[in-house]
Symmetry: C2
Subunit: 243 residues, 2 copies
């Protein structure tokens, strides 16, 4: 079967670093699913507003080989697991699966510089990089898809792992410049940007095997670069710069 791209994801994750490793209900990160012209058909979404959650099937970018075993980042990067026991991209068919919350259907409208005149879905909670191709959108059916008692295998132990996030070192000098900043993907407010970056840092974007408190990491998100360090379970934001 040959897959056709029906839409592209647009969000602040212009770089792979920092993209969440799984979709999560609590993630405030907003992603726009912008339909390609052939699929920008309003009636194809009839009834979708009745669903609170959706499935996205999407393509892992630039993955063209698979491996029977992979090293899940959450296991420290040294333990090998079977690829079908993980959500790793290095699969025979590199298709990702994410459940997201539907915020709204955005109708075609004129935007500055001609951006955004296609049909869109706005969702939160995705684990997608900006520009990710979308192959399918399905309604989430709780009676088929929800298994609260499911056993999560090796992923169970690390599922609640989070960093604290400390902004004290960079406030308040850098923040005003964020307000109403117009990014490639639309307007963003300081409050929203802070919420989203705090979430991203709390997920610990560092490579699994690194734990050097002096090392500076740079996260690009929605037009700004955030420099941070991590020490004893806390991410310390050092500065924010315009990209």
């Amino acid at each position: 079967m040959e897959l056709k791209v029906i839409a592209y994801a647009r969000n602040g994750h212009t770089d792979k670093f920092g993209v969440p490793r799984q979709s999560r209900e609590e993630s405030p990160i907003e992603t726009r699913i912008v339909f390609e012209p052939e699929y920008s058909v309003l009636e194809a979404l009839r009834g979708i507003e009745g669903f609170s959650h959706l499935w996205l099937l999407w393509g892992f970018d630039k993955v063209d080989s698979w491996s029977p075993t992979v090293r899940p980042p959450r296991l420290g990067g040294n333990t090998r697991m079977g690829v079908f026991a993980t959500r790793s991209p290095f699969r025979p068919n590199p298709i990702g699966l994410s459940s997201v919350k539907l915020v709204k259907v955005a109708y075609p409208r004129p935007l500055p510089e001609g951006k955004g005149d296609k049909l869109e879905l706005v969702v939160t909670g995705a684990d997608l990089m900006d520009g990710t191709p979308i192959y399918d959108i399905k309604p989430y059916l709780s009676f088929s898809d929800c298994h609260p008692e499911a056993q999560n295998g090796f992923a169970e132990e690390t599922k609640d792992y989070r960093l604290k996030v400390d902004w004290d070192m960079c406030e308040p000098d850098y923040l005003p410049m964020l307000d109403r900043h117009w990014t490639d993907i639309g307007p963003i407010t300081t409050r929203k940007w802070l919420d989203e970056v705090t979430y991203i840092l709390s997920q610990d974007p560092r490579p699994a095997y690194q734990d050097d408190p002096t090392r500076e990491y740079k996260l690009d998100y929605a037009g700004f670069t955030v420099t941070f360090t991590v020490k004893e379970g806390t991410a310390f934001v050092q500065k924010i710069e315009k990209m």
Copy 2:
């Protein structure tokens, strides 16, 4: 992207009629996921036994066109909904998504007539026809995939619809011949076959718009043909014949 078939589903649903319309936790229907030689690699499943549920991504057979709107069977077959608000096969990329319960990993072993010497996963709850191509297998992660509070849109009203199933007309003459019947997909016991067929009938396999109590329907399942009628919310099994 070009998808490769990694496995095929094998079960008693040799005919499309009666295949459940969604995967369901309570379904007793057992399906074997038989890996193709290239993917019949035991280490690709390392750690999978720790997961109670899996996702299957699979191909809708013989679907090569899509429609912006479709008529969900559960809405009576007359109401049109947007294809992305349904799990209909008539999608731009006809990929199905089903969560199933993992029963076991079945290791290569010799079986009569050389059948079953490939690596397999045995699962229950699938909504797949025998021979369905499988494109991916992923672990179910409850912290990402489970949303008990999800709103099911138009599917909410009909999700608990079931038929009662009455076997009184055909017992006990036909049942003994079932015991230990060896089918194409392996051995099946009377008890198991009855459980599975009872479940299939309870899901009401009739086309949505039909409600004629005199009409006889024929369900082919695991080597036997079941003739039944439906009257006032009950499926009455009339007879069982060897296919």
